[in-house]
């Protein structure tokens, strides 16, 4: 029964996407585009904004999926992102004199590494020291905020950030090319990662084992899988992805670091993960929806077409998150062993 519902949901989502594509094409190439409201909803700038706002959410949700599929709840994504962002910034500013690309790539590498360290910390806290996983996540958030603010050298200036790369040929497609195939490298990477993670999770040995650890760790243990090693590994990789999200913010979206610049994206990622039923493509869809609500909010403000107080317009993403979480949690199914410490004398810990 679950499968059928899943198929129906996929059809609905596919249908919505198709309508969107058609509308976007019409609005951006025909005279329909003269209607301000249609531009607000379907204009290229709205679509570009959506993708851009979604990238950190997608990466955050992937981070959550990796951790939670092996049974570790990760509400610390926000902190991991912030740490990654700060690390990327420090790396970038200290290599400003390098050629731009190598300096940026170095920033990416450092963001990944520091995100990984945060993931490792979360794993150590929650596996080795049996800290409640939600509290451990909270600790990471506060720690990242504190450390990054304390160490932030406000005189440091990062020079340059990733620019858009138009994919030859593909970028010439009207609208689609502009939105999908003219993006900076980390955006492409993120989209590819979703596919890779989906395949890895459901079609590889690693994915099968990871999921078993999150659903029934004892079963995994009895066939000789080291549950806690998988949990460590995936939490670290999850941390790296969250770190990459932070790296995206600094190296691709902004170019500078700002205290608290993740601004709740980690939490919205979590909602996207839940909304997407712990599935990579589902989470991506949810992240795009949240990104779209943000785009809409900004488009409405920029177009000045509504006199609704802008605070209420700004509430849209948060209210949508609440509605999504309320409407779907009952119907999605989290990994069964989430949040529970797995202890065995035979394990690594």
């Amino acid at each position: 029964m679950g499968k059928q519902r899943y198929r129906i949901t996929s059809y609905i989502i596919g249908g919505i996407l198709l309508v969107f594509l058609v509308m976007a094409l019409l609005v951006n190439t025909t005279s329909l585009g003269e209607n301000t409201w249609l531009r607000v909803f379907f204009g290229v700038s709205a679509l570009n904004f959506t993708l851009r706002a979604s990238v950190p959410l997608i990466l955050g949700a992937m981070s959550g999926i990796l951790c939670e599929r092996t049974g570790i709840i990760n509400i610390g994504i926000e902190g991991m992102m912030l740490a990654g962002a700060f690390a990327a910034f420090v790396a970038k500013t200290s290599t400003n004199h390098w050629p731009l690309m190598s300096s940026l790539l170095f920033g990416v590498a450092v963001a990944l590494a520091v995100g990984g360290v945060m993931g490792w910390l979360h794993a150590v806290f929650s596996i080795r020291y049996r800290m409640d996983q939600i509290i451990s996540g909270t600790v990471l958030i506060i720690l990242a905020a504190g450390i990054s603010a304390y160490l932030f050298d406000r005189n440091a200036v990062a020079e340059g950030k990733f620019g858009a790369i138009a994919l030859p040929g593909l970028s010439q497609i009207p609208v689609v090319g502009e939105v999908l195939f003219t993006n900076p490298p980390l955006t492409y990477t993120t989209l590819i990662l979703v596919v890779v993670i989906h395949i890895a999770l459901f079609y590889t040995k690693w994915g099968l084992r990871s999921r078993a650890c999150g659903e029934h760790p004892r079963a995994a243990d009895t066939v000789g899988i080291n549950v806690n090693r998988f949990r460590y590994m995936n939490t670290i990789i999850g941390g790296m992805l969250a770190g990459l999200a932070g790296g995206f913010l600094v190296l691709e979206a902004v170019g500078q670091f700002q205290e608290g610049m993740t601004a709740g994206r980690g939490f919205i990622s979590l909602a996207a993960m839940i909304f997407g039923n712990w599935m990579p493509f589902g989470a991506m869809g949810a992240a795009l929806l949240f990104g779209y609500t943000q785009a809409l909010q900004n488009e409405l403000l920029l177009a000045g077409v509504t006199t609704v107080p802008r605070q209420f317009v700004s509430m849209i993403p948060y209210v949508v998150t609440i509605v999504a979480v309320s409407g779907f949690v009952g119907r999605v199914r989290p990994p069964a062993a989430e949040g529970k410490v797995y202890e065995t004398e035979g394990g690594s810990e």
């Binding site: 995994a220 000789g224 004398e345």
Partner: protein, 510 residues
């Protein structure tokens, strides 16, 4: 059987000490090729610990293990699997949301070009299931499968890994008598194919029926060996518990009076959203014990939950003492319905681990005088109450302020029983009241249940242990797929008859 050859598995003087507990002490055993060795012992005798050591989940404190004559060190189950040891756990180690194929290959996957080769594995499963007559569909999802089939998957899982030594831990606990026969057939097939099997159980009849050799464990030690051809049930039983055991409960004839519990056409849905009860009707009268028998997962759990208010009824009526209690709150059923409930899962429902024994003993009465006055808790009255009950129900604890979670299983159950049996009631619902506890406590609880009946309480007893049902009940209701397929008087009930009913075969009225 060739006893002179090197044993395929040998355990030498193994001792396992957990903090504060000696689980195994100086245990030795030998297993030969093509042999079914039965390991007999009651709960807590150390059987499971021993098997977990052999399977690499635990590490012995002292002693060694030899496979095919070679001493081995098993750090994880992976090592055990490599040595050809397979284990079928009492609680199935299967991931419910995954397919049979995924479950079987988990940990020993076959990979093509970096991706899982599910097709090859499925082919191998089909081949194995043909060879050993273990029929399963490789593409089925575990949570959709009946218990018996899941067990087959577990056995296939071991065979897929080329296990030469199979450990079956309490494999019959969840099966109907007919399914047990099927399992025994499989075991005999396996033995013919040269597999060696360790069969763990506490059921005497089964041991005598299938085993080649019997070893009895008690208190973590080996207390003796027996030959099934010569041993009797009585002999084995006394070896198992260390004294003569009374296998039946002393009780007089029942004197049923007015109907206390009246259930009519009850329907309910399981957690998975499937119908769990499909029109259940029966009555329990004051002064009688009605036992509900059936293979686990046929709606017994849901039945108890609906009667006690923990689950919503979709249709039907429940009356307790003549008052309608359909979909009443648990509190109303407990309080107004004057009923008690010994829950199936004592840890999940029956107690709060972090609460003191005293608090646990008032868990569902804390709001009533004398434990509460004007919404404030009266610690004194609660302590007084606890002292009396701990004494009366023989709960062994250093203090009434000890955390409930730190008691042993038997004492926890006695604590729950003490709470539920100590107030004036008209209805007692006891679900699996003796699961997982020692024989002494079982006897005690059985006697308490009979005493309640003799006081004129209506008792509904749900148990997966047919022996328990047969020993205590005055009437026996058998559940099958959410229905009560039949209700028989104890005098008319036989194991075989009940077994057929549990398998859904309704016998013709004579």
């Amino acid at each position: 059987m060739n006893t002179s050859a090197t044993p395929v598995l040998e355990v030498r003087n193994v001792t396992k000490i957990f903090p504060g507990v000696v689980a195994n002490e100086d245990v030795s055993l030998q297993l030969h090729q093509g042999e079914i060795l039965a390991l007999l012992g009651e709960n807590g005798a150390g059987k499971s610990t021993l098997m977990n050591i052999i399977f690499g989940l635990y590490h012995p404190t002292h002693g060694e293990i030899l496979v095919n004559g070679q001493p081995v060190v098993m750090k994880t189950p992976r090592d055990a699997i490599k040595l050809g040891i397979g284990m079928v756990h009492q609680h199935f180690q299967l991931v419910p949301v995954m397919t049979v194929t995924d479950n079987i290959m988990l940990g020993d996957e076959s990979v093509k070009a970096g991706l899982l080769d599910r097709r090859a594995v499925a082919a191998r499963i089909r081949e194995l299931s043909q060879r050993y007559a273990l029929e399963v569909n490789p593409d089925a999802v575990i949570e959709d499968l009946p218990v018996g089939v899941r067990q087959r998957v577990e056995i296939l899982k071991a065979l897929y890994r080329n296990a030469k030594i199979l450990i079956l831990d309490e494999p019959t606990a969840v099966l109907t008598p007919q399914e047990i026969e099927g399992l025994f057939d499989v075991m005999e097939t396996l033995r013919r194919q040269g597999e060696s099997i360790i069969f763990i159980t506490h059921k005497l009849k089964e041991v005598l029926r299938i085993a080649d050799r019997i070893m009895v464990l008690r208190g973590g030690r080996v207390v003796g060996e027996a030959d099934p051809k010569r041993a009797t049930q009585q002999q084995l039983a006394s070896m198992m518990v260390g004294r003569e055991v009374i296998l039946t409960v002393e009780k007089g004839p029942a004197h049923p009076k007015a109907v206390v519990l009246d259930v009519q056409g009850l329907r309910a849905t399981s957690d998975l959203g499937e119908p769990a009860l499909r029109g259940v009707s029966f009555q329990v009268r004051a002064g009688e014990i009605v036992g509900v028998a059936g293979v686990q997962g046929n709606g017994q759990t849901e039945l108890v939950e609906v009667i006690t208010g923990l689950r919503k009824a979709d249709a039907g009526h429940i009356q307790i003492g003549g008052v309608d209690m359909t979909n009443a709150s648990p509190r109303r059923i407990t309080h107004d319905g004057k009923s008690s409930h010994v829950p199936e899962d004592r840890h999940a429902y029956g107690m709060v681990d972090s609460y003191s024994i005293a608090d646990n003993l008032v868990l569902n009465q804390y709001y009533l005088p004398p434990f509460a006055k004007a919404a404030t808790i009266q610690q004194g009255a609660i302590a007084e109450h606890a002292k009396v009950l701990v004494e009366k129900f023989d709960v062994r604890t250093p203090s009434i302020y000890t955390h409930g979670g730190s008691l042993s299983g038997g004492n926890q159950q006695k604590m729950v029983v003490a709470r539920e049996f100590s107030r004036p009631i008209q209805l007692l619902i006891a679900a699996q009241p003796t699961r997982g506890i020692d024989v002494g406590s079982i006897e005690f609880i059985h006697n308490q249940i009979v005493a309640k009946r003799d006081e004129g309480v209506a008792v509904l007893l749900v148990s997966a242990e047919l022996d328990e049902i047969m020993a205590l009940s005055d009437r026996i209701a058998v559940m099958y797929k959410g229905e009560i397929i039949d209700i028989v008087a104890r005098a008319d009930a036989t194991r075989e008859g009940l077994g057929l009913l549990m398998a859904g075969v309704k016998h013709e009225p004579v």
